[in-house]
């Protein structure tokens, strides 16, 4: 009788999880499709539908083109990569946030805390200041990716204490190095007022101008890093309970932290390299996933990705449509939405209704 109740209860929970997850997936798919229909240029719905059908291999040959070439370019070359980039970048930031919060056992950390953002900014500003074309049109993206990883490496290396990397040292070193690099960035920017304008757009985050080429590569890196994080969800759960607990159940704490931070850095750095700095997704979304799906990373990691993708997609839609014929930096929108939500969440934490 008790076994049956337990089984029934478990089945009900699984069913509820799949229902919620399915709803999220459906909402994401609908949001993606809807997002390609909106923009500063109004394109008839049937034309966008034709453009969609035209892109299907083989089948597309039988679809008559009732649209103009510029409409095709707008949908396929501008809107589609931007919309999908919102999903990928949002997912990467949210998964990164989940990972970092588990490693640090700290609900107010995010991937940027370990030096990803300052490193990426330094790389982008150097690329802009030197006008380097070492990697063609993608030099800014490449350098921000490269320096971001390098800075996290320095932070990690400097945090070493007798063969261990205590989270508190990692956190403080991350903050200190980030401040140091911010000063360097400030110095570079101060030298050129023209550069300030260019860097400003990057610092506020934007998904405008993302191409299929860079999106493909970033998606690959984000997928690999996310899958690796997914395979160590148990270890992350254990770390969330504290390092002594994790050790007591046989988790190799240092190895888990190294893997988690390395793949998080790769995934988030890749995302940030094409989007610039987008705040609050990595901080807020993991908490949202925990509120809805509970505390285990088995659910929180994939669900954070869905929530992150949806959140950034909606933010980007707002950034593209709030002001007619203008694009606002998406980082502003995420901040405007993220802060009130974060404050609400903090109030819930203080009332004891939610524990990360």
């Amino acid at each position: 009788m008790v076994d049956a109740e337990i089984t029934e209860n478990r089945n009900r929970k699984i069913s509820l999880f799949f229902t919620k997850a399915s709803l999220l997936v459906v909402f994401l798919v609908v949001s993606v499709i809807y997002s390609t229909f909106i923009g500063s240029v109004t394109i008839p719905v049937q034309n966008i539908a034709s453009i969609y059908l035209k892109q299907i291999p083989f089948f597309g040959n039988f679809v008559s083109a009732g649209y103009t070439y510029s409409q095709y370019e707008i949908v396929v070359l501008i809107r589609e990569p931007e919309v999908l980039a919102a999903v990928v970048v949002g997912a990467a930031l949210a998964i990164g946030g989940t990972s970092v919060q588990s490693v640090f056992r700290n609900p107010i950390t995010e991937p940027y805390i370990i030096g990803i953002s300052s490193g990426a900014t330094l790389g982008a500003v150097i690329a802009l200041a030197t006008s380097t074309t070492i990697f063609g049109a993608y030099s800014v993206q490449f350098l921000s990716f490269f320096t971001s990883i390098a800075v996290v490496f320095v932070v990690y290396f400097l945090s070493f204490r007798t063969g261990r990397v205590p989270p508190i040292y990692l956190l403080l070193t991350g903050i200190a190095i980030s401040l140091f690099i911010s000063a360097l960035v400030g110095l570079i920017l101060f030298s050129s007022r023209k550069l300030q304008n260019e860097a400003f757009a990057w610092l506020l985050g934007s998904l405008s101008g993302i191409t299929w080429q860079e999106l493909g590569l970033v998606t690959l890196l984000v997928m690999i890093s996310s899958l690796i994080l997914g395979t160590i969800w148990k270890e992350l759960d254990a770390l969330q309970m504290g390092e002594p607990h994790a050790r007591s159940i046989g988790v190799n704490v240092e190895k888990t932290k190294l893997i988690a931070l390395t793949v998080t850095t790769v995934g988030v750095s890749a995302a940030v390299s094409i989007s610039g700095l987008i705040g609050f997704v990595g901080l807020v979304i993991p908490h949202l996933a925990r509120i809805v799906f509970g505390g285990s990373n088995r659910k929180v990691l994939p669900m954070s990705a869905l929530f992150g993708g949806i959140f950034l997609l909606i933010s980007d839609d707002l950034a593209r449509t709030l002001v007619h014929n203008e694009i606002l930096p998406v980082g502003i929108i995420t901040g405007l939405i993220g802060v009130p939500f974060f404050m609400y969440m903090l109030s819930r934490i203080s009332r004891g209704n939610y524990v990360s």
Partner: protein, 367 residues
């Protein structure tokens, strides 16, 4: 130590894998570019030479450095932009270029302008881009199917430029003249690009004729009796923005026989103390700078106490680098040397050039 080596190895591998992936992508794109003229070129290298084949078969060559500019073009070959036709369907995000195209009788080729392009007043067929607080959506530009986007740098991010040029295959031309001779070059270049070279020559001739006349009118003013001025553009957190040597504004002042107290080139920020030390006879205030926002040190200057503050009446003439700065020079000279120069001394544009612009280029200079 062993652990450190392991960590370093892991991170180096990650960097190499990530870097290689970017590199492979870069390589593949370049390979594609060489195989197809319509594929992604994957570079944003500025091009400085442009060759335009005019309708009569004449090839006009121009170095874009002569207008302080450059171009990004799809699939650049040997650093030269070869145009086997004159440009049409122009999106211009620079008011000075818009005005020049109108004067050249090429305004029919303009399909989009920025919100500051108020001369000439945009027609119904021209899309006006307002981008006060954000950037222009590329899809709005793509929708116009432009032949070129003319701009000063800074409107688009590098990522947007890459998409504009390499993905959407729209040439991007930057023009940023810094001197009066570069303003004339700008007119010449736009004449080449739109097949109106003769009109460009006439406009430049009109400019030179009037500048020479102004010089003659002011010839009896010796350098020792010239007024010294400080141009107050707008306040910055660490001083005041102004214009120094190497700018067309400085040249406007010079041609109006005014002595700019600033000797730092370009558009520097100078401290209020520097201005106080130079003690200018007059403060020349930008049209959009409110006198009440003047820095306190400036407010204490003898020039301020004597009410020697002259506010630019119409910034469109004074700070837009095109042929209309002639009116601005005369306006300035009239303010300081009214016995020598009158604004009405500017020789009529329509009469001199025969271009018969329906919207007179000098209207509004003193209002």
């Amino acid at each position: 130590m062993k652990r450190n080596i392991q960590i370093i190895s892991v991170i180096v591998i990650v960097i190499i894998v990530g870097g290689s992936a970017f590199g492979i992508e870069h390589y593949l794109n370049n390979s594609n570019a060489s195989n197809s003229s319509k594929s992604t070129a994957d570079t944003l290298t500025p091009v400085y030479n442009v060759n335009v084949t005019e309708a009569n078969g004449t090839v006009e060559s121009f170095n874009l450095s002569n207008v302080g500019g450059y171009a990004y073009i799809p699939s650049p070959q040997n650093g030269t932009w070869d145009l086997n036709h004159t440009l049409s369907r122009i999106v211009t995000l620079i008011p000075s270029v818009t005005a020049t195209l109108y004067a050249l009788h090429s305004y029919n080729d303009v399909i989009g302008v920025d919100q500051y392009s108020v001369y000439p007043a945009p027609t119904k067929n021209v899309t006006v881009f307002n981008f006060e607080i954000g950037s222009i959506p590329l899809e709005s530009i793509t929708n116009l199917t432009p032949g070129v986007v003319v701009d000063t740098s800074g409107t688009f991010s590098t990522q947007q430029l890459n998409q504009l040029v390499n993905v959407l295959h729209i040439p991007y031309l930057v023009i940023d003249p810094g001197t009066i001779s570069q303003i004339e070059n700008q007119t010449t270049l736009l004449g080449y690009l739109t097949g109106t070279s003769n009109n460009a020559n006439i406009i430049n001739s009109w400019m030179n004729y009037n500048i020479q006349n102004l010089s003659n009118d002011l010839s009896n003013i010796s350098s020792s009796s010239e007024y010294s001025v400080f141009y107050y553009l707008y306040p910055a957190s660490d001083g005041i923005y102004t214009a120094g040597p190497g700018t067309f504004i400085n040249q406007e002042l010079k041609d109006a026989h005014l002595n700019n107290i600033v000797n730092v080139t370009g558009y520097p920020v100078v401290s209020a103390a520097t201005v106080a030390n130079a003690n200018p006879d007059y403060v020349l205030l930008d049209q959009y700078t409110n006198e009440t926002t003047l820095n306190q040190t400036i407010q204490g200057l003898p020039a301020e106490k004597q009410n020697h503050i002259v506010q630019i009446a119409n910034d469109d003439f004074f700070s837009e680098p095109n042929f209309r700065i002639v009116y601005s020079m005369y306006w300035l000279a009239e303010q300081f040397y009214p016995h020598n120069v009158n604004l009405s001394d500017v020789y009529s544009f329509n009469k001199y050039t025969g271009l018969n612009l329906s919207q007179q280029p000098g209207v509004g200079v003193n209002s």
